[in-house]
C-alpha cells in the first residue's frame, strides 16, 4: 500500500514529536496547533497520533486526549487517532513507526504526542523528525532540569500555559539558563505559548513547518527494524542481525522495511 501511495505521488509529511509530563498541556496545545495549521493553508492536512500508557496490570488503556481536542465538525483535513503504548518503554507503541509511515504519506504534519520523558522514555526522538518538549509553569528549578537528563535530546522547548504570568516566566528563564549549561553554543529554540489566549502559537506553528528536521520517516527504518527483530526474535535474533552487518545494512540490502522483515523471518524459519 505504501508503495502504491508513493507511486501515486503521496505527500511527504513531517513527523513532529510532542512530549512532556502528564498535565503539561500537550493535548490542548496540539489541538490548537492542528486547527491553526489547517486554517492557514487550504491544501494542508494534519494528523494527531496520541499515545497513552497501558495499564501494566490489565493491559488496557484509557485514552482520554480526545476530550481536550475539539476539531471543527466534518473537517476532513484533520485526523485524530489514539494509540495505547501497550507496555513498551519509550512512550512509543510498537506500531507507532508503521502508523507514521502511512500517515506521513497522507498528511503534511503528523503530531505524535507521548506522555513522560526520562532517559528510558525518549524513543519519540527516534520516530519524529523534530521533537518538542512541553514544560508547564513551575515544572522545577534548573538543577532539576539538569538532573532529569531531558535537556540533551529535544530539538526545541515550549513553556506552556504562559497566560499564568509570573510562574511561566520563571520557568522560561530557568529553562534558558539550564540549556546554556547543557548545550553550550547551540541555538535551541525556546517558546512561550498559551493555548488559551493564543499567545506565541503562530510563531510556534511557523517553526514547526520550517525548523530543521530529520531526513524523513523512512531514514529511521534501521532503528525500528532492529527493535522489531528484538521483539520478534529476541536476543538471538539481534545477534544474528549484528553478524549480518547490522540493521542499516540489512534494510538497505533487502530494499526496505517490509522486505527486510520478510527476509529475516525466512532466514530464521519463522
Amino acid at each position: 500500500m505504501l508503495a502504491r501511495l508513493d507511486a501515486a505521488g503521496a505527500r511527504r509529511g513531517r513527523v513532529v514529536g510532542v512530549t512532556g509530563a502528564p498535565g503539561a498541556g500537550k493535548s490542548t496545545l496540539v489541538g490548537e496547533l492542528a486547527v491553526r495549521l489547517v486554517a492557514a493553508a487550504p491544501g494542508r492536512a494534519v494528523a494527531v497520533l496520541a499515545v497513552d500508557p497501558s495499564s501494566p496490570v490489565s493491559g488496557g488503556a484509557l485514552l482520554g486526549d480526545r476530550t481536550r481536542v475539539r476539531f471543527p465538525a466534518g473537517e476532513p483535513r484533520l485526523y485524530f487517532r489514539s494509540q495505547a503504548a501497550a507496555g513498551e518503554l519509550g512512550g512509543v507503541a510498537r506500531t507507532t513507526f508503521q502508523v507514521c509511515r502511512l500517515l506521513t504519506r497522507l498528511f503534511d504534519v503528523v503530531f505524535v504526542e507521548t506522555v513522560g520523558v526520562g532517559q528510558s522514555e525518549i524513543e519519540i526522538v527516534r520516530v519524529a523528525d523534530r521533537t518538542y518538549l512541553i514544560v508547564p509553569p513551575l515544572a522545577g528549578d534548573h538543577v532539576q532540569f539538569m538532573k532529569a537528563g531531558i535537556m540533551e535530546l529535544p530539538d526545541a522547548f515550549v513553556v506552556s500555559k504562559a497566560d499564568v504570568g509570573e510562574p511561566a516566566s520563571a520557568t522560561f528563564h530557568a529553562l534558558r539558563a539550564s540549556l546554556r549549561l547543557a548545550r553550550p553554543g547551540a541555538e535551541v529554540p525556546l517558546h512561550r505559548v498559551s493555548a488559551r489566549t493564543g499567545a506565541g502559537v503562530d510563531t510556534l506553528c511557523a517553526e514547526i513547518l520550517t525548523g530543521p528536521a530529520g531526513a524523513g520517516v523512512e531514514a529511521r527504518a534501521a532503528h525500528f527494524f532492529e527493535r522489531w527483530v528484538a521483539a520478534e526474535h529476541g536476543r538471538r535474533g539481534v545477534a544474528r542481525l549484528t553478524a549480518a552487518g547490522g540493521a542499516a545494512a540489512y534494510v538497505a540490502a533487502h530494499g526496505g522495511f517490509e522486505a527486510a522483515q520478510a527476509a529475516f523471518d525466512g532466514e530464521v524459519g519463522a
Binding site: 485514552l63 476530550t67 475539539r70
Partner: protein, 668 residues
C-alpha cells in the same frame, strides 16, 4: 427567660410554641410552560408551600428550543423557557410577592433571574418583594453536573454580579445555593461534601471581596445570603451529624475569615433534596422507606434543620415522576411536620457525647481538606488541577466496589433480591411518566410567535448592550433584564456571551482510577480479552461518549474505568457531543464498540440520530447504551439497533463489561 422545663420549646414571649415547618417543595417542571404551570398550581393546592422549578437541558445549557442540538431534549427533564413570554405563562395565577421560588439553574442562572425580575416589573410587583433562590453554583457544574457554558473565570464573574445586583435590588433573594447535593450524587463522602461545599462558598465570598465593588456593610449582607443545597443519604445518623458540622464550621468561617459580627449572617441556611443515588430500580417500593429515613436526617436536629425540603419519588430510578408520585412524597413531609410531635421540641441532640464526638470528627477532617484546597489556590486552583474531580471519581469507584463486594448492603440489590412482584409498577403506564409530544410542540409554537411579535430593533440594541458590558466588565444584570424585556431568547442571550467569553471543556478526572472487581471473575474476563487481542492483533477498542446535553458524566466515567481495568483500550470522548462527533470518533479510532450514556430521557431520539449517522458513514460498529431507561423502552431501543441496554439494575460492572465483550465477539 422561660420557666418551662428543657423539653418544651418556647417562642419569643416565653410561652410554649412549636416551630413553623420548613418550606415544602417538589422539584417539578416538564413539557411546556403551560403544562408546568398547571402542575405547580395543583401542587400548591395540595399544600406545597414553595416552588422548585426544573428547567429542561437546553434552557440550562443556553440553547433555544429550536436549536438542532436542543431538539431531542426539549421539555424532557424540566420546563423549556425561551423568553419572558414563557415566564408569563409559567407563573400565571401565582403571586410573585408571596411565593418562594427556587430555580435549579446554573450556567444561565443570571438570565433566569433577569427574566424573573423582568416579569415582576411587567406585573408591577416591586423587585424588593421577590423571595427565592437561583442555584447558580457553577463550581459543582464543573465537578459533577456538567451544565456549564463558559470558562470558569467568566462563569464566576456572572455569579459575583448576581450578588452585587441582588444586595441592593432584590435583598431577600439567595443569589446562589452552594450545592453539596451533587457532590454526594457523584460519590462524595460526608467529609468531602462538607469540605468541598464550604471551600466553594469561600471561593465566592473571596471573589466578592477581591472585586471590591461592594462596601463592608453590603458584603456582610452577601455573607448572610449565602445558602446551601444539601443531600441527605441513607446513613441518616451520620447525615444529621454532618448537618451539625456544616453549621459549626460555617459559623467559624464567617466569623474568623470574614469578620462577620452579626450572628444572623453566620447562620448555615440550607435546603435539601434527599439522595437519589441510593434509590434502586429493583424493588422500587423500598425507596419510599429510604426517602423517609433520609428526610429524618435533615429534620430531627432542630439546630441543624433544613429551611426547605424536597423529596424525590419512589420511582425516580426508573423515570421522571408522575403527579401522583410527587403527591405521595409531599404527604410524607406533611405527616412528618403536622402529625408527629417533631416540631414541639428543642434540639434533641444537644449534650449527646456521641453526637458531639461524631460532629467533631467530621469538622476536623473537613478542616484539613479545606486547608488542602485553599493551598491549591482555592476551588479554582483545585478544579484546574483536576484535584476535586479525581477525588470524587475515586470515592465513587470505592462505593461501587463496596456494593459489588457486598460490604455495603443494598436491600433488594445485593441482599434479599428475590421479592414478590410489585403491584405499584403494574398500572397501565407501568409506573412511568411520559412527556406529551404535543406539549413540546406548544413550546416551539410559542417561541415562533415571540420571534414574530417582538421589536427587532430593541432586540438588536439589547444584545449589543449586553455584549458591550461583557467586554467592558460592567455588571451584566441590568443589560440582561433589558434583553428579557425585549424578548431576547435564551439561545440569543447565551450566544452573545459565548461570543465574548468562549466555551469551556472540562477535564475528565478518570485517569489513574481502578475498581475493585471480583478477582476470580476478573481473571476470567481478562483471559477472554487477552484471547481477543491475540486473535485480532489489538485489544478491544471502546469509544465512550455522552450525546445530547445531559452532563451527568459519572456513569460513563465508571464504565470507562471498568473496561480499561478489564483490559479494553478505551477512548473517552467526553460529554455534550452530537451523534456526529461520537460516530466520527469511533470511525477514526476504528472502534469495536460504541458506548453511550444518556440520563436525560432522550434515549430514543438520540439513538435514532446515532443509528442514522452510523448508516451515513457506512460504519457497522455496534452500540451499547446505559442510563435511566424505563423497562418498556429497553426492547424498543434494541429494536432500533442498540445491541445492549444497561440500566441502574446492572450495577455489577463486571457483568456490564462481560456483556460488552459478548456484543463485540458476536460481530466478529
Amino acid at each position: 427567660m422561660s420557666d418551662q422545663p428543657p423539653h418544651v420549646l418556647v417562642g419569643k414571649d416565653g410561652a410554649p410554641a412549636p416551630d413553623r415547618p420548613w418550606i415544602f417543595r417538589t422539584y417539578a417542571g416538564h413539557s411546556s410552560p403551560r403544562a408546568s404551570n398547571q402542575l405547580y398550581r395543583a401542587n400548591l393546592e395540595q399544600g406545597q408551600t414553595g416552588l422548585s422549578i426544573a428547567f429542561d437541558l437546553p434552557t440550562q445549557c443556553g440553547y433555544s428550543s429550536d436549536d438542532p442540538v436542543a431538539r431531542p431534549e426539549v421539555g424532557k427533564v424540566g420546563v423549556p423557557i425561551n423568553s419572558l413570554d414563557d415566564f408569563h405563562v409559567l407563573f400565571e395565577g401565582i403571586p410573585l410577592d408571596r411565593m418562594n421560588t427556587s430555580m435549579t439553574i446554573n450556567g444561565t442562572a443570571m438570565w433566569l433571574l433577569a427574566l424573573y425580575v423582568a416579569l415582576a416589573r411587567e406585573r408591577g410587583v416591586p423587585e424588593t418583594a421577590l423571595k427565592g433562590t437561583t442555584q447558580n453554583d457553577i463550581v459543582k457544574e464543573y465537578l459533577a453536573r456538567g451544565t456549564y457554558i463558559f470558562p470558569p473565570e467568566h462563569s464566576l464573574r456572572l455569579v459575583a454580579e448576581t450578588y452585587e445586583y441582588c444586595v441592593d435590588h432584590v435583598p431577600e433573594w439567595n443569589p446562589s445555593n452552594i450545592c453539596s447535593y451533587h457532590l454526594q450524587e457523584a460519590g462524595a463522602t460526608p467529609l468531602q461534601e462538607v469540605a468541598f461545599a464550604l471551600a466553594n462558598a469561600i471561593g465566592i465570598l473571596d471573589l466578592l471581596r477581591e472585586r471590591g465593588r461592594i462596601d463592608d456593610e453590603r458584603f456582610a449582607r452577601c455573607v448572610g445570603r449565602i445558602s446551601f443545597f444539601v443531600n441527605a443519604g441513607i446513613r441518616f445518623v451520620e447525615e444529621m451529624c454532618k448537618m451539625r458540622a456544616f453549621g459549626a464550621l460555617w459559623d467559624d468561617i464567617c466569623r474568623d475569615r470574614y469578620g462577620i459580627t452579626n450572628p444572623k449572617y453566620r447562620l448555615f441556611r440550607y435546603g435539601v433534596q434527599v439522595n437519589s443515588l441510593g434509590l434502586t430500580e429493583s424493588q422500587p417500593e423500598n425507596n419510599a422507606w429510604r426517602i423517609l429515613l433520609e428526610a429524618l436526617g435533615v429534620t430531627l436536629s432542630r439546630n441543624a434543620r433544613c429551611r426547605a425540603l424536597q423529596l424525590p419519588t419512589w420511582n425516580e430510578a426508573m423515570s421522571l415522576p408522575r403527579p401522583w408520585d410527587q403527591q405521595w412524597s409531599l404527604r410524607l413531609q406533611q405527616i412528618l411536620a403536622f402529625e408527629t410531635d417533631l416540631l414541639e421540641y428543642p434540639d434533641l441532640f444537644d449534650g449527646s457525647p456521641v453526637v458531639a464526638s461524631k460532629v467533631a470528627a467530621i469538622c476536623d477532617g473537613a478542616r484539613g481538606e479545606i486547608d488542602r484546597i485553599l493551598a491549591m489556590g482555592g476551588v479554582r486552583g483545585a478544579i484546574d488541577a483536576g484535584y476535586m474531580k479525581s477525588q470524587l471519581v475515586r470515592s465513587m469507584a470505592d462505593r461501587m466496589a463496596s456494593i459489588n463486594r457486598g460490604d455495603q448492603v443494598v436491600v433488594g440489590v445485593n441482599r434479599w433480591t428475590d421479592g414478590l412482584p410489585s403491584p405499584l409498577v403494574g398500572g397501565d403506564d407501568g409506573g412511568v411518566f411520559r412527556v406529551d409530544p404535543a406539549a413540546v410542540e406548544e413550546a416551539m409554537t410559542a417561541l415562533a410567535a415571540t420571534r414574530a411579535r417582538r421589536d427587532a430593533g430593541r432586540v438588536r440594541d439589547a444584545l449589543a448592550r449586553l455584549e458591550a458590558a461583557a467586554r467592558s466588565g460592567d455588571n451584566l444584570m441590568e443589560p440582561s433584564i433589558e434583553c428579557a424585556l425585549a424578548r431576547v431568547t435564551t439561545g440569543e442571550w447565551a450566544n452573545a456571551l459565548r461570543g465574548v467569553f468562549g466555551e469551556y471543556r472540562a477535564l475528565t478526572g478518570i485517569d489513574g482510577q481502578t475498581l475493585d472487581l471480583a478477582p476470580d471473575r476478573l481473571a476470567t474476563l481478562r483471559a477472554r480479552i487477552d484471547g481477543f487481542a491475540a486473535a485480532h492483533g489489538h485489544r478491544p477498542r471502546l469509544v465512550v461518549g455522552k450525546p445530547g446535553l445531559d452532563g451527568h458524566s459519572n456513569g460513563a466515567e465508571v464504565i470507562a474505568v471498568a473496561a480499561r481495568h478489564a483490559g479494553f483500550d478505551v477512548v473517552y470522548s467526553g460529554i455534550r457531543l452530537t451523534p456526529d462527533e461520537i460516530v466520527a470518533s469511533a470511525v477514526e479510532e476504528d472502534a469495536d464498540l460504541i458506548g453511550v450514556s444518556i440520563l436525560s430521557g432522550s434515549h430514543l431520539e438520540l439513538t435514532d440520530q446515532l443509528m442514522a449517522t452510523l448508516r451515513r458513514h457506512g460504519a457497522e460498529i455496534p452500540v451499547v447504551l446505559g442510563g435511566i431507561v424505563p423497562r418498556d423502552d429497553v426492547a424498543e431501543l434494541q429494536a432500533r439497533g442498540v445491541a445492549q441496554v444497561f440500566t441502574p439494575a446492572d450495577y455489577q460492572l463486571i457483568d456490564v463489561v462481560d456483556r460488552m465483550m459478548d456484543v463485540i465477539e458476536a460481530r466478529r
